[in-house]
Amino acid sequence: MIIDPGLFLNAVVSGLLLGGFYIAVALGLSIAFGQLDIVNIAHPAFVIVGSYFAYYLGAHYGFDPVLTGILLTPVFFVAGILVYRVYYVSFERTGQESLSGLAFFFGLMFIIEVTLIMIYGVDYRLVPAPYIGMNWKLGLVDFPLRMAIPFVVSMVMTIGIYFYLSKTFIGRAILAVSQDRQALQLMGADPVRIKQIAFGLAIATASVAGALLIIIGPVEPSINREYIGRAFAMVVLGGMGSITGTVIAGFILGIAESFVQTFAGPSWAPAVSFSILLLTLAVRPSGILGRQS
């Protein structure tokens, strides 16, 4: 079989663009699950909430989706803090994260999804923005702006979070709480307060990711389930607690999905991430850059 070079090149580029966007979705989970050990299955549901905010403000008031996503990060931050408070008081303090904590996030995801269905129905929603139909062409390769803009925004956000975690005091405290809780306490920092800020930050990224999601394509409430697989596949494949690992894993997943979509058909795409996830768990559970646990 001879593969058309144009088709091949386009599959690579669109895979990179897609992967870049996926990183925005997984970033919050990389913090919550990778650093804080909070298995937030509801993270993609928060992303969808971000999409619906972008849809609502865009369709009714003409707000640009990226702007909405950024403006609403404080709201998501506070929501994240509240969720963490409930989680901490009910499960983490009493050591019941494993069973009740998981069920809690599962129920939360379900509530968010059904609430959106009750308000907006199961129709696909999209958002108007001037750049969504535009396309740049470089030789054989297409750069549709509806993919390129989410890619750029996602990269800027990821780099920002990366430097926040490695350069600022609170950022370093977040990394510290994931490594040695007790040592942090001895240094005079309150681990619960640090985790609370970190979880708020994780949920705040969902606001931006949701806005990017609805730029890429129309959104309906139940697609959050596909993103559970993608996000967890990236965090696990990248290695728990490594943002660089999540970024690498995001590009791997994006390219893999893009190839499957081009050469096998779009109906197979949802299985890609979960197959990567199962394979990683079976072969190398610590991921690419993970610390051995």
Binding site: I41, Q96, S98, G107, T115, M118, F232, W268, L281, A282
Partner: protein, 321 residues
Amino acid sequence: MRSGGFWGFIIGALLVGIAFVALGKNEYYYFAAYVILQSLIMAVAWNILGGFTGYVNFGAAGFFAVAAYTTIALNKYLQGLGLQPPMLVYIAAGAVVCGLIGLGTGYLTLRLRGVYFAIATLALAVVFQTLANNWDYVGGAKGSYILTPAPPPFFSSYIKYLFFVMLLMSLFAIIVSRYIVHSKFGRGLAAVRDDEVAAECMGVPTLRLKLISTTVMGVLMGMAGAPYPFYVTYVDPQSAFSLGIAVNAIAMPMIGGTAYWYGPVIGAILLGTAQEVISVTISSELNVFLVGVVLVSFVILAPSGLVGLVNDLRARVKSRA
């Protein structure tokens, strides 16, 4: 519950079921009871791993749907040969397939931390749904119809027969679940749940126990899913893999109390009945919404479920007296 009381309860439930089949007029009640019993089996099965062993299975809908699709594929194949096997064949097939899936998933992920198992089960459900969407033999994304056979002797309609099959399987699931709690195996599982490392140190073969427990869970879920195509007569991936099935399988044991064999039974009967009433009288969307709210409220406010609440209350009354 004492042993005599337990067997009395089982026989009593069976007799009530027989009387219901013989005397009932309105077919709706059989349709409703079938759904409640189906979620009862799923809840009891989920609890064998989730409640007794402490490993969360988010993919209950996956196990259920794989069994339903096994029935569809087998039915299509056997009809091609001109055969019409009894229900037992489909149930056995679903049980074997799902038991093997449970064993396989457990083998791949149970050596890791419990959360990986939970995520893997979620992953499994989506992988199987994608397969079902792309497998044309069983209808692909369009779904597939199945013909309801004639009711067997002694049953005046097919739904009565399905209800009775479901009742027998529910009682079987309850017996298995109770047997596990009271056996040495069950005490091993409880040790795994409470402190896996300590259990391993005391010589409990934790991996083997966990594998048996996932297999039993798979077998029971497969049994619950196998008759489903005959009940709905039309199966498509969207409905067979519905998230509602997975949520119910978790919510019912959580509401009843996961540490007891009768916890999921109580949870399934209460929540299942409430769901039937709400979907008929108000709306089915509100119904799914309430399941989520009830699940979250219970894990936050009453983590040991209704049974735990009643036990607490009793202890309080006793200490005051």
